[in-house]
């Protein structure tokens, strides 16, 4: 038996979410006495895999086909070949398309949005985030095989190097009538769901013409930009930047909310962020209750000062 992690090679790298999944698997595996193996698509990146404790892999080809049912089929084939019992993967955009399919194809029970290491292994009980992060549930899995799809930041990546890795390439049937016609990136810079640092603005900015104040700070930090729902509804910013319960949910290391009051639906999309900074001129803004650090003041004065302070800090570092 083994714990298998799905490792997607994206442009020659494993994303942080995949390193988190590897760390999660390794920790679970040391408790259970099971090795950590990987199913990879694309070049297997053996150096990184070894760094994170993987001693064996199966590379499945074709590489990330347009048809996600083929991808899920390939991964479940690799999972069986590695005699997998647990399949761990990030619940990111690829993970969301395949996790449920993998559960069916591997005949496994599934828990999505897993936010911590298991509470118990026998029976397996894991914590899952729900109600937009307003609560968690402990879910018991009653099946022999298990798929766990991890929310980002469920665990911090930790290297556990091994000396040796062995692997093989398996080429699978790739017949599909699904065709990828085109792929467009809408935003320049860092994709929001993957960003470690996010600067987000609300109605407090008064209009799109003031957005450069936020963008200056984001640029200085190397952060992605986001916005609240009223801002995207008013077309100040594109919809794909809208974070919240009806937009996208993110969990960066740092979320700086500027001029956002913090309605419950907005908090739902961001309250898994590791650190939250709130800048608002209204000391009663509900967002302060969810914040780690708060600044009460006029954003048009505070934000440029913060940008300058970040600049000074970076030039010292």
């Amino acid at each position: 038996m083994s714990i298998v992690v799905y490792c997607e090679n994206i442009e020659g790298n494993l994303k942080k979410a995949t390193l988190e999944a590897l760390t999660y698997a390794h920790k679970m595996g040391s408790e259970l006495g099971l090795p950590t193996y990987a199913v990879t698509t694309g070049e297997p990146l053996t150096d990184v895999l070894k760094q994170y404790g993987v001693s064996k892999y199966v590379e499945v080809s074709p590489n990330v086909p347009a048809d996600t049912s083929l991808l899920a089929g390939s991964i479940s084939f690799g999972f069986e070949k590695l005699n997998g019992q647990y399949l761990i993967l990030p619940y990111n955009s690829t993970g969301k398309s395949i996790a449920g399919q993998l559960a069916v194809k591997c005949d496994a029970g599934i828990v999505s949005s897993v936010n911590a290491l298991p509470e118990s292994l026998e029976p397996l009980r894991v914590s899952q985030s729900l109600f937009a992060g307003k609560a968690s549930a402990v879910v018991q899995v009653n099946t022999a095989k298990v798929v766990l799809a991890l929310q980002s930041n469920a665990i911090q990546p930790e290297e556990k190097p091994v000396d040796e890795i062995s692997g093989e390439l398996v080429i699978l049937d790739s017949l599909s009538q699904v065709e990828l016609v085109k792929q467009e990136m809408l935003s320049e810079g860092i994709p929001l769901p993957e960003a470690e640092l996010v600067v987000s603005g609300g109605r407090g900015f008064k209009g799109p013409e003031n957005w450069h104040i936020l963008e200056d700070l984001a640029k200085e930090l190397g952060a992605a930009t986001a916005c609240s729902r009223p801002v995207s509804d008013a077309d100040w910013r594109p919809h794909h930047e809208h974070v919240g319960q009806t937009g996208i949910a993110i969990s960066p290391n740092l979320y700086i909310a500027i001029g956002i009051s913090g309605a419950i639906q907005h908090l739902g999309g961001v309250n898994n962020s590791k650190t939250i900074v709130v800048i608002n001129n209204d000391p009663e803004a509900p967002f302060f209750k969810a914040a780690d650090y708060g600044v009460i003041g006029d954003l048009f004065e505070v934000v440029p000062k913060l940008t300058a302070a970040v600049q000074a800090f970076k030039s010292k570092a």
Partner: protein
């Protein structure tokens, strides 16, 4: 075209989440259920538009007990032709997938619409599970759909962008914002909904892959550290030295 729209109920998004004293279940007293917005606003409305374009029939299906009938009636009022309710309280997404695929085994639908997730449990697992059980192509977080020459052109939102796929039917898709515009049922629709068929079918045995043991809420609200608006160097220092995020 024979179109199926899966509709779920969800707790209204502004509701305060309360659990029973032993934290084993949701305290549903006074809790208001609505049709899951992703299902109602985007999935159902786009399904109805597709029917207007190519003809056919739109069936809505729900797994739940009779307390969900008003939600199904609302979908009929918005324009669905008929409703089906699989009469059981589902235990998990795997259970819903099992109930739906059992119902679909001897039916012939061309396209199955779902929402990308429910706005309460946020699991998002059902659409992919259902597609895998049916062995149909699956497209999630779909923000745009066109249909011409027996092919569907589908835009899927990905991290920071969009992918466009072409696929023959049948297929399963999960809808997100952008796929359609919310439609409010009018009085005529509401009156007509009362006469539309709502078939209740019995459930197959439950899938018991997983079950919720207990609920909990985040420990307590964090203590916010206030930083003087004139001292942003201090904020940067805290973020670097204390929070260690920059």
């Amino acid at each position: 075209m024979n179109i199926l729209v899966c509709i779920a109920k969800s707790i209204e998004t502004t509701a305060k989440i309360v659990f029973t004293p032993d934290n084993s279940a949701l305290d549903e007293s006074g809790m208001q259920y609505i049709m899951n917005p992703y299902d109602e606003w985007y999935s159902l409305v786009r399904a109805l538009e597709l029917k207007d374009q190519v003809g056919g029939e739109v069936t809505v299906i729900h797994v739940g007990d009779a307390s969900s009938d008003p939600i199904i009636r609302k979908a009929l009022a918005i324009g669905a032709d008929k409703g089906v309710r699989i009469d059981t309280i589902p235990q998990s997404a795997a259970d819903v997938a099992k109930q739906l695929s059992a119902y679909l085994a001897d039916k012939s639908f061309d396209i199955v619409f779902t929402g990308k997730e429910t706005v309460d449990y946020n699991g998002g697992i059902l659409p992919a599970m259902l597609a895998a059980k049916l062995k149909w192509p699956f497209f999630d977080v779909v923000s745009h759909l066109e249909y011409a020459d027996d092919l569907a052109l589908i835009s899927k939102e990905i991290e920071g962008g969009v992918k466009v796929f072409k696929s023959p039917l049948p297929l399963v898709l999960s809808a997100t914002k952008g796929l359609a515009e919310q439609k409010i049922p009018n009085m005529r629709g509401i009156m007509m909904a009362k006469r539309k068929p709502l078939e209740v079918v019995s459930a197959v045995d439950h899938a018991t892959d997983t079950n919720i043991v207990s609920f909990s809420k985040p420990e307590k609200s964090k203590e916010v550290t206030l930083v003087d608006a004139d001292d942003m160097d201090e904020l940067v220092r805290l973020l670097h030295e204390e929070a260690k995020v920059i």
